[in-house]
């Protein structure tokens, strides 16, 4: 009984997900930021390349710089995840949802599958496009990378995974907080304010803590050779995945317990 019921919940969530404007708008902004800012950033590097500091040129990573747009697109992705659940609380339709599926964990599983799979597909395509366009722009002036190079394909794949995981983080936060603007505030604070707080810490702590920030994890995931005080790519992905799983488990337990 349980499996077809989850399937039905997935179909229901899929109808809901694709029939509100915020979904296509959110993904359009994601595409625009990832590719558009990727183009701007790579063009800027190309035009300044010859005046750049030799050390900076030596440390230059053509992969992560072409994917830098994701660090802006992460806000659009998070909002998609947050709205996917908080819009139900704002309108009150969460009660209709839970009346139709009283086994509430199924609602969470269905939303995770719909949001996670859709965002993963969109992000992988967009990140790959940003990478290819960036290398095209670098070509001839700046050193370029190819997908066959060491760690390159991994960076591109994990770049897409980073966005998908952040979408799920947004969903989990939205489910816990239940208010759209509060959830967006917490989400953006995690990505923007926490790094600033870390900078204010004594440097001994800073070196330990900084690598755990979500956006630092993202940079590790997308860089071919992360710096020594950061996580390397796969462990960074694992840490971020743990954040997401813990958030979603807490969200599910709260959803089961709280009054709708």
């Amino acid at each position: 009984m349980s499996e077809p019921a989850v399937g039905a919940a997935v179909r229901s969530e899929w109808v809901k997900f694709r029939t509100v404007r915020s979904t296509p708008i959110g993904y359009a902004v994601t595409v625009l930021l990832t590719i558009g800012l990727g183009v701007l950033i790579t063009f800027a590097i190309r035009s300044h390349w010859h005046t750049m500091d030799p050390i900076a040129r030596f440390a230059f990573d053509p992969v992560s710089t072409s994917l830098a747009g994701t660090l802006f697109a992460q806000f659009a992705i998070g909002v998609i995840g947050i709205l996917f659940i908080t819009s139900e609380y704002a309108s009150g339709s969460i009660r209709a949802t839970l009346a139709a599926i009283p086994q509430r964990w199924r609602v969470v599983v269905a939303k995770v599958l719909v949001l996670g799979v859709t965002t993963l597909i969109v992000s992988e395509v967009v990140v790959l496009a940003a990478f290819l366009i960036g290398q095209r722009i670098y070509a001839g002036v700046v050193p370029t990378a190819s997908l066959g190079g060491p760690g390159v394909a991994r960076s591109v794949v994990l770049g897409g995974a980073y966005l998908a995981l952040l979408g799920l983080l947004g969903l989990g936060l939205g489910l816990i907080i239940r208010h759209q603007s509060a959830a967006i505030s917490v989400y953006t604070s995690l990505l923007l304010i926490v790094p600033i707080i870390v900078i204010l810490l004594p440097s001994g702590w800073q070196n330990v803590v900084a690598r755990y920030e979500p956006s630092a994890l993202g940079r590790s995931m997308m860089s071919v050779s992360p710096s020594s005080n950061m996580f390397s790519a796969w462990p960074a992905a694992a840490v971020l995945a743990i954040y997401v799983v813990v958030t979603l488990v807490v969200a599910t337990v709260l959803l089961e317990r709280r009054d709708a």
């Binding site: 009984m1 077809p4 019921a5 039905a8 919940a9 179909r11 229901s12 969530e13 899929w14 109808v15 809901k16 029939t19 509100v20 404007r21 915020s22 819009s87 139900e88 309108s91 009150g92 339709s93 009660r95 209709a96 949802t97 839970l98 009346a99 139709a100 599926i101 009283p102 086994q103 317990r257 009054d259 709708a260």
Partner: protein, 305 residues
């Protein structure tokens, strides 16, 4: 059959339901009456498994709501008509609800047709009037063709045409043998639609019965006009009745019935120009039943106590 079994629900320090118990029999329309804030909506949410009571439980055909799988086939509910994402079309809202319980798309079109929303099915729900939203809510409730239906204040905010439409829908659904629980704070509305009513106040059970039973159990006054009200009032008071000035120089008599008042007048040789039993209005009965159980009594009401 819906059974509410010793349910107590509080939100923080606010007690919403106190040890509330009642049964809703199958196959009839049961009115669920109580003043605003008496706990009707909370009871509905507890029945629907949305809010968990601290004590007691509510069951539908022996199971709590959260034990039901694909519940839309067994229970349909209209709790709040405006609880729909405003950016989604009526048809897509129905399709999402239907998909969650494995209900076909053609059934969505059928219920849209039944509630008369086919022409506007592709419009965003945010543009809907309250009446249209109520129709959509009823369409959702009927999606799974359930035998049990719950409606929370379905009449609220509707225009007369919408009210008449909803009454007709209830009659149609009841004629099909469905169990219907419909809440209202208007007794007169229940007199028109419900076979029997359950009355609650301040989260506690007060009484149940048919509207006729409740009305006839209530006290009835007698309105009397005579050539000498003062002397008649004296006689009535002496016989154990109470009097108060009625409209247009009449005398309103409580406790005694019309026959007794007539005999008193005859004995005292006072000619009567009018003698009318005043049947208590439904609203009077309702006020009387729930007077001690309303949270917020107006100052005028308080002065009478």
């Amino acid at each position: 059959m819906i059974v509410v079994d010793h349910v107590t629900k509080h939100y923080g320090h606010t007690v919403a339901l106190r040890d509330l118990s009642f049964e809703v029999p199958a196959g009839v329309i049961t009115g669920f009456l109580g003043p605003n804030g008496s706990g009707k909506s909370t009871t509905m949410r507890v029945i629907m498994g949305l809010d968990a009571p601290q004590q007691g439980r509510a069951t539908i055909n022996g199971k709590t709501y959260r034990e039901l799988s694909s519940p839309l086939h067994q229970v349909g509910a209209l709790l709040d008509a405006k609880s729909v994402h405003p950016g989604r079309s009526a048809r897509n809202h129905l399709r999402a609800m239907a998909a969650s319980n494995g209900i076909s798309r053609s059934r969505c079109d059928d219920v849209l047709e039944f509630v008369g929303l086919t022409a506007v099915a592709n419009r965003r729900v945010g543009e809907f009037s309250l009446g249209m939203s109520q129709r959509l809510g009823i369409a959702v409730a009927l999606l799974g063709d359930p035998a049990v239906l719950l409606f929370d204040e379905p009449i609220n905010g509707l225009d007369p045409e919408g009210i008449r439409w909803i009454r007709d829908v209830f009659r149609t659904l009841a004629a099909e043998g469905r169990t219907i629980l419909v809440s209202s704070h208007l007794m007169s509305e229940m007199a028109l639609t419900a076979d029997q009513v359950i009355v609650i106040g301040r989260g506690s059970f007060i009484t149940r019965g048919t509207v006729d039973e409740l009305t006839s159990a209530a006290a009835r006054d007698v309105l009397v006009r005579s050539q000498d009200n003062a002397r008649l009032a004296e006689a009535i008071n002496a016989a154990g009745g109470t009097t108060s000035p009625g409209p247009g120089g009449s005398l309103q008599v409580a406790v005694l019935d019309a026959a007794t008042v007539g005999q008193l007048a005859l004995r005292e040789s006072i000619a009567l120009s009018e003698l009318t039993p005043v049947r208590a209005s439904l609203e009077d009965v309702f006020m009387e039943l729930t007077a001690s159980a309303t949270d917020y009594t107006s100052s005028a009401g308080a002065a009478n106590v």
